[in-house]
């Protein structure tokens, strides 16, 4: 992917854009303009346009009528049309308000919102029904699934107005979502997963039990991964308000080891449940997340 287009996926750049729709378009257009050739078109019955034939293209898509008229081999392209329903579960608990020094001004919830906006834009453009669920200790906001182009505006507005509050109760929310969704679809969970690992696994297993496809975007700040602090620090938990005084430098290695064990445990647990897992560092661009989604989406086709 070219460097210039990758800049459009930089979370710091996106955070400076006031309009969430603009964020979504920037992310998606920037993302796709770097891909060649585009593998994500052609799964539709609605005509889109023609393009020149390249060796390797399937012959069945050659428009012979055009060839008869113009003596040029062209491929006929279609808009993708599916009936997949995508549920975007966005964590807006207080812990998602954390922003580290590596990405000043970009909170985890911002990063998650950018990702949700980009995915919504992409999904709706592909004709998928898209729903948005914002939650903390319980569901705080919900936009029911729809596939209309105008539905994007409602989702993006909700994302832009999202406010972090409350403690994380991911397991309960997952159970609620599992019980309330009537239609089988793709569950996209965007969260920092700061809850009990077992409860999370059980909640996700509940969704899998209902035949949902699940992809988990685990959003963590760089500081949360590295504990890159110096000096005497009094850490205050953003949700429980607990305090802890320490020399970070003296416990850094131990902390990194524990975080690594936690992530390994989550990865293994979700892998056993056939749940896709993608760890996202808020200091990195969004492309990894988008690729992970598209890979998952293609498998569903």
């Amino acid at each position: 992917m070219a460097g210039a287009t990758r800049d459009y996926l930089d979370p710091i750049f996106l955070s400076k854009l006031a309009n969430m729709e603009l964020v979504a378009r920037c992310a998606i257009e920037g993302f796709f303009s770097g891909l060649h050739p585009s593998p994500f078109q052609g799964f539709s019955v609605e005509y889109s346009d023609h393009r020149e034939y390249y060796p390797g293209d399937e012959v069945k898509f050659v428009d012979w009528k055009v060839f008869a008229r113009t003596d040029r081999l062209c491929i006929k392209r279609f808009h993708q049309e599916t009936n997949t329903c995508v549920y975007l579960l966005l964590d807006v608990s207080k812990s998602m308000a954390f922003a580290g020094a590596a990405t000043p001004g970009v909170r985890k919830v911002d990063y998650a919102s950018f990702l949700a906006a980009a995915l919504s834009y992409l999904m709706l453009k592909q004709g998928d029904s898209t729903a948005l669920v914002q939650f903390a200790e319980r569901i705080k906001g919900q936009i029911p699934p729809a596939s209309k182009r105008t539905h994007l505006h409602a989702i993006l507005t909700a994302l832009q107005r999202a406010k972090v509050a409350g403690r994380t109760n991911l397991a309960g929310v997952l159970h609620t979502v599992a019980e309330t969704t009537k239609r089988r679809g793709l569950i996209v969970l965007i969260s920092d997963l700061l809850d009990d690992e077992g409860d999370i696994a059980r909640g996700l297993a509940h969704l899998k039990f209902l035949k949902h496809d699940v992809i988990v975007f685990h959003v963590l700040d760089h500081q949360e991964l590295e504990l890159d602090y110096e000096g005497l620090i009094e850490f205050e938990d953003m949700e429980s308000r607990d305090k802890l005084r320490t020399f970070p430098q003296s416990i850094r290695s131990r902390y990194q080891q524990r975080v690594g064990e936690f992530l390994d445990h989550v990865r293994k647990t979700l892998g056993k449940s056939d749940i896709d897992y993608c760890l996202l560092d808020t200091s990195e661009p969004l492309d990894r997340a988008l690729i992970a989604y598209l890979v998952k989406r293609r498998r569903l086709m």
Partner: protein, 686 residues
Amino acid sequence: MSFLQWTFLFGALAVVGPLMAHLLSKPRFRRVPFTMLRFLRSGQRESQSRRKLRDLLVLLLRCAIITLIALLFAQPLLHVHSKPQEQRTVVHLALDDSMSMAYRDGGKSLLARMIEAADKRIGRAPQQARFSIHTLASRRHIDGLDKRQARAEIKRLTVAPRSAQLADFLSALRQGSRQKPPGTRVRVCVMSDFAPNTLRQFEQVLRPAGVHEWTYESLRPEGKVSNAAITGARVVDASGGTLDIDVTVADWGDTAQERKLTATVPDLEPAGVDVHLAPGQQRVFRIQVELQHTMTGSHRPVLPVELDLSPADNLVEDDTYRLAVSAPAATSTRVLLVHRADEAFLFETALDALARKSSAWTPEVRMATEDHVTRGDLNWADTVVFSALPADLRYRTEDLEKVTAGGGRVIFFATDVGNSKIAERLWREGLLPALPQRWAQETVYLEAQPCTRLCPGFDGRTARSLSNYRPDRIAARGCWLCRVAPQTQCIWRFKNGQGFLWHTSVGRGSAVLVNTSIDDSLGLLAKSGAWVAFCGYLLGEDHEAKQFCFSTAEQPVLSVSDSGRTRQRLAVVPVENCDGSKTRARIEGDRLFMPAPAGLGWMRTLGATSLYAGINLPAGETDMGSVTTEQVADALTRAFVTETPDGAQPAGARQAAQRKPVWPSLAWAIIFLVLLESTVTSRLKR
């Protein structure tokens, strides 16, 4: 442990600072919102306990550093008490190698017996003992010898032609005792013949040296002592055709002496007298040496006279005595007294007194008034005395210069300025040493004696004898303030700093200005008892025989002017020492300073006419007078103490209780703790 500056110990109270800081201080924590506290907590418990431990360690280190710094400033001294079995032994051997130890008794000298005794004593000493060897006469001090080295060292001992000196040994003993390590046991053994000369020094010790143990070995002749010695000689007269010398001969032994005393002078017939002495007797014998005709008159050679006793006894070194004699010249000095009126009467009287005093020096006096002086008078005179500065010159100044060119002297008394133009002319031509310009009316006194040490032609001995008349009590009514030529030398001053006697060299002779009147119109000098001596000094009277004999302990100083015709002009002259080695001597004024003698014998200058100096034993060095054991023990008790009263603590005992400074260890400990503290602190921050 004790402290030199114990008040600095209060500085240790400064540990309160870090203690309070540790107890009261709160670390400044930066508050940071975070999410994953559960992962922090697991490492936190371990970190917290480790940090507390480090905090405590840093606190202890800082307190220790402050305490050690306070201790360092207090200058602690550690009291070192060494155990008796760890004591080392230092044996100080004081060996008498003076000339009396050359006495031979039964074919073996006392020195050889002393070496054998010392060897045995070294053999009996503890194996680990160290030896210090001190030679009393040659004054060598060798420390830190083991047995083998000490034995080799004493085998090299020879007799030194000097007297034993105890002071150097005691000084070296005290210094060595101070520098010995703690726990050292100091033993002293003195080996000597304890001749009266040596024993007297032990008896006169004022501050005894503290030692753990002292002993002595008296090396006396076993039989009767047979030893006669020439202890001195004095030239009585040399003005005639003979050289009369009084020789003092002493019988230092226990047997009567029948000897022959012989005086030997190169190129002359030896003269001798028989010597009969009872045991312990000391007599003076006069010996007459016939001088050749050429050695009298105006020629004054320095004669090396060697006096010898024969036949030889058991100590031959003191049977010979050497003295160099400077025989006086039998001269007649022609003095022209130029006066205006009869003011030269007192001077003429003084000349008459001087002529009667000495048979060798006969002044011929011619008097002439200033108006009647002729060239013939000037040509006749050796010395011209002007009772006042000339008011008129009826002769040419060249005639005066002829007087000085022949080695004569022109003397001016400054009664008044006379004719200032003539005075200035004489001054410009160098015949007048200083030009009187202004009369200072004040009572002035002379210095006690002239400073003639640096002025040839003025005898130092005469100046010293002149000082016996106390000229510093003679007052003058004033003095002339003079203008002085650069080459002029002031050889006598008033106490107010003005010159009294000015001198300048003219040709082979000299010119002198006396800043007073010849008839005492300006002061009382001419009427005082010093007047005759002063006139003799002024005319350069020097008519006594002089002798040059020195002991080995002296530095020979000869008189260059006494050599008369040698007229040494060099500041340094080559000389031959007693052992035949060539060296140099320096001349300051009329004195010739010879180097230190290298034994007994002759020292002489190398040149056409030699000056001699006879080098003999110190007086009484070979006195072998009997000394009892009690006398020796009593004398040594005065020199050494073994008790430990104040001020006379034994050297070893003092060292056993020595206080050892511990500040170097403290300084290193502080440096180490500072480094450790910084390391721990930096790790604490991590």
